[in-house]
């Protein structure tokens, strides 16, 4: 029975021709003397063949009237906006230099200045944007995320893991768009599936504070020479408060 279970785990890539030669031989050997498993493989093969044969016809659905022109209109709007953005950069080099320095100073200043509101607003906007475009659904493993943040971006961060007691599930970690990708952004969901984000500004210390902005609530604190920002839903509940305390305790 163990062999049957092991074969079952590999029958799909076997049927797809995606198994390395050694494993392929093992599966074939088992199928040769196990009729139920062979039957299963045949059924998979059969369904796969029909689908692939008919794939083009399955994909050739008539489009609803107007859909194409509406999507083309979206594309034109996009191109127009991109063109405007692009043309704006065709300015004298000195002006570019001034802009760059200003942008750099602004980013740094935002991070170090007393203006919590500006910082919170920037990160909240990024939180909303990230959850719209990229949302992992299942829980992730904290040590895997830490490993990925470290190896890909060099961030040494302890990522608070999922905790049912605190009502929080870890979804993933990524590089934050804000400040040209210099910040780790860890994504969570609360018990009611509300998105929650944790950001970390490296090498910055500031006073703890709370800001409500853009329909969200942010908590800001510092620890070990870094500043953390937790983006939460605006409505505070005992559950959310418990979740926030957990993250503040765990993040480092």
């Amino acid at each position: 029975m163990d062999e049957c279970r092991r074969t079952a785990e590999r029958v799909t890539p076997y049927v797809d021709g995606a198994l390395p030669p050694g494993e392929r031989r093992e599966v074939e050997q088992h199928l040769q003397h196990c009729p139920p498993c062979a039957r299963g493989a045949q059924e998979e093969q059969g369904a796969r063949t029909v689908l692939r044969e008919r794939a083009d016809r399955l994909k050739a659905q008539p489009l609803p009237p107007g859909l194409r022109s509406r999507c083309e209109a979206l594309a034109h709007e996009h191109s127009r906006v991109q063109a405007v953005r692009w043309w704006r950069l065709l300015v004298p080099a000195t002006a570019i230099a001034v802009l760059l320095i200003f942008a750099g100073v602004l980013i740094f200043a935002v991070a170090t200045r007393r203006s919590d509101t500006l910082l919170a607003a920037q990160l909240t906007a990024d939180h909303v944007k990230c959850f719209e475009v990229f949302v992992p659904e299942k829980g992730a493993d904290a040590s895997e995320i830490e490993e990925e943040l470290e190896s890909k971006f060099g961030w040494d961060m302890h990522v608070p893991p999922s905790s049912s007691a605190a009502g929080i599930t870890l979804l993933g970690g990524r590089r934050c768009l804000y400040a040209d990708g210099s910040m780790p952004h860890v994504m969570y969901k609360a018990e009611g599936a509300e998105p929650v984000s944790l950001f970390r500004l490296e090498g910055v210390t500031r006073k703890a504070g709370e800001v409500t902005t853009l329909g969200h609530h942010c908590r800001i604190w510092s620890r070990g020479g870094n500043t953390y920002v937790l983006v939460l839903p605006k409505e505070t509940s005992p559950g959310i408060a418990r979740l926030a305390r957990y993250v503040e305790r765990e993040a480092r």
């Binding site: 799909t12 029909v50 008919r54 399955l58 659905q61 859909l67 475009v133 659904e137 040209d180």
Partner: protein, 195 residues
């Protein structure tokens, strides 16, 4: 503190991106139709996908797979919609679901399953059989056997581990086979011009 400015895409890039994205409208709609199982919702889903794709074009790394990126947005958007519509989580990945979903009567003894299915399955039967599959299996089988994405790409789109992807494909295919076999074995009036 001033970092190197990310290279900007010019207007030509924007046009190329838009053209390539629009070129995927038909398969995107076909996929949306299988997900939503009704044309109006599929239309909304596809439009929303393009709205997001064009709004967040910066998030797409040029040179990577645009189709996979669009499909990921499509599936994420769909999942969010389903979650908002109903808070019930249906657990599909346990063994119990497969047993419950299997037909009560097993298929008749079929000698060459592939040949019979290929010959006898009507397009309408195939679509109906697909639509009857539990959503999780339907998505996985469609993405693999119709759209030919890799296991890893599908895992990213559905937000599940690769092992789960393979298991869903396996179960989806087998369920589909059983339904198609039952449809093909149905005694019925000879329909002129079948296929």
């Amino acid at each position: 503190m001033v970092r190197r400015v990310r290279s900007t895409t010019g207007p030509a890039d924007a046009d190329a991106f838009a053209a390539e994205a629009l070129g995927l409208l038909e398969p995107l709609f076909a996929t949306a139709l299988r997900l939503t199982r009704n044309r109006a919702d599929a239309e909304d889903l596809v439009q929303d996908t393009y709205v997001k794709a064009f709004r967040f074009t910066d998030r797409f790394e040029r040179g990577t797979n645009l189709k996979a990126w669009l499909y990921t947005i499509l599936h994420n958007t769909w999942r969010n919609r389903r979650r908002d519509a109903s808070r019930d989580t249906v657990e599909v990945d346990s063994d119990r679901v497969e047993q419950a979903a299997t037909l009560a009567d097993g298929p008749a003894a079929l000698d060459t399953p592939e040949r019979i299915l290929l010959r006898d399955t009507l397009d309408a039967d195939l679509q109906a059989a697909l639509d009857e599959l539990p959503a999780a299996f339907r998505e996985a089988v469609w993405l693999r056997d119709v759209e030919e994405f890799s296991y890893a790409e599908i895992a990213g789109m559905l937000g599940v581990p690769i092992g789960t992807v393979m298991s869903r494909i396996s179960r989806g295919r087998r369920l589909l086979f059983e339904r198609l076999s039952a449809a093909a074995a149905r005694p019925g009036v000879e329909i002129a011009g079948r296929r």
